[in-house]
Symmetry: C2
Subunit: 269 residues, 2 copies
Amino acid sequence: MENWFGEKQTDDVMLSMKYDRILFHKKSKYQMIDLIENKTYGKVLFIDNTFQLTERDEFIYHEMLAHIALFSIERPKKVLIIGGGDGGLARECLKHDIDDLKLVEIDEDVVNVSKKFLPSLSVSFNDSKMKIFIDDGAEFIKNSNEKFDAVLIDSTDPVGPAAVLFETEFYNNIKKILNNGGIVGTQSGSPFMFPEHLKKAYGNMRKIFNFVKVYTATIPTYPGAIWSFTFASSNDIIRKREVNVKTKYYNEKIHDCNCNPKFIDDIVQ
Amino acid sequence: MENWFGEKQTDDVMLSMKYDRILFHKKSKYQMIDLIENKTYGKVLFIDNTFQLTERDEFIYHEMLAHIALFSIERPKKVLIIGGGDGGLARECLKHDIDDLKLVEIDEDVVNVSKKFLPSLSVSFNDSKMKIFIDDGAEFIKNSNEKFDAVLIDSTDPVGPAAVLFETEFYNNIKKILNNGGIVGTQSGSPFMFPEHLKKAYGNMRKIFNFVKVYTATIPTYPGAIWSFTFASSNDIIRKREVNVKTKYYNEKIHDCNCNPKFIDDIVQ
């Protein structure tokens, strides 16, 4: 008898993976957390039965969210991550010469499961520049007196608890804690499967910021696989520095290309 | 009791879709052909239990294979398609001002299933510029006395019957039937899941042609989702004309960007 764990991307489309045993299963205060190990993808983290990350393809998501923002800033020194309790996005940020990285994760169990099972991501927790807060990201930002060069939002999709992270009020509060030339970046969902997610993130950012740019990358384990990331700033978002970090997906050409599939241009026009 | 039809992308990863009934199921002379209808993706064609196309995402594959090649030619007049019996690639080619389109499909049943169930693809069969041959593509090319501006290979992967379409001998025979400045283009598999497929196509084309270029696109229903296309010519492959066709994925920026994820640059370096 084989065990398969999967995500129903829609009512009638499912991506599933075989596993020997469930390494972790817990209904945390906020969500259901599951971790399996799969031969093809390595360890796979599910939140509320949706793919959160796999060891094999997480580099794509984390590199694209971190480096598009940080290479568009001349000297990023202070970075704030909302969500991202697995540590993968932090790992990419720490490849830059920053002074200070704060991560605000609402669910302590995500941090703990990563510490225990995902060393290639949670390695970032050992960095002395990093500080983790177990807190509500929207509240943290509202109450913050600090300013940041980049705020990166590594959240679940804008349905359920993370919906507030795609609202104008949230983006407005971020604007207040951004340094001059600072950038906010967020994952903005699957433009192929759920174009309304990108429309919402993009539309609301446009209300608050002068410059908004959408990038895409392929995340094999996410619904529709074409994934969108939206970045906003009071300045134009262009690469300001040579790429001097080791990556597997992101590179200068991808940063500079400014090319999205036609149907995505149509969503955000 | 629900019915699900899927593809095992590897031994332990599966993408599956729910359907009400199987619209077509036949072991043809060459392969197993299945057609289902799914609420999210529309009609879905499987060959030997692998996703061949879906009505919802086929535009990506067909646009990227057709237009990168044809917009890199100043006046493409004669085009040859190997495979592609569903008619989708032909539909995209016919958006160009060509005189003559030949399509060589080995399996008549693929043509017939498309005629009956996939009108948005097989619409191309009604075009008077198009001629379909039920024949072995490799043999057709070996024996051809005609010359073409573009040869496009819309095949299954280089395992099993289509393996010969990724060999040096085949590319060499194509070179002989290409006009000056002519281009050959092929799908070259999933660089994320099966990098050896791209390595083979690219490596063998490099032995025969001076200029070889790899493009990628996201095909949500294919293994690994990041898909590669490899184009070769005796001339440099750059866009020669303004994009004047209606598309949903392909556009000028994508054609001109020359940007692949780092791990794909590493495969073809």
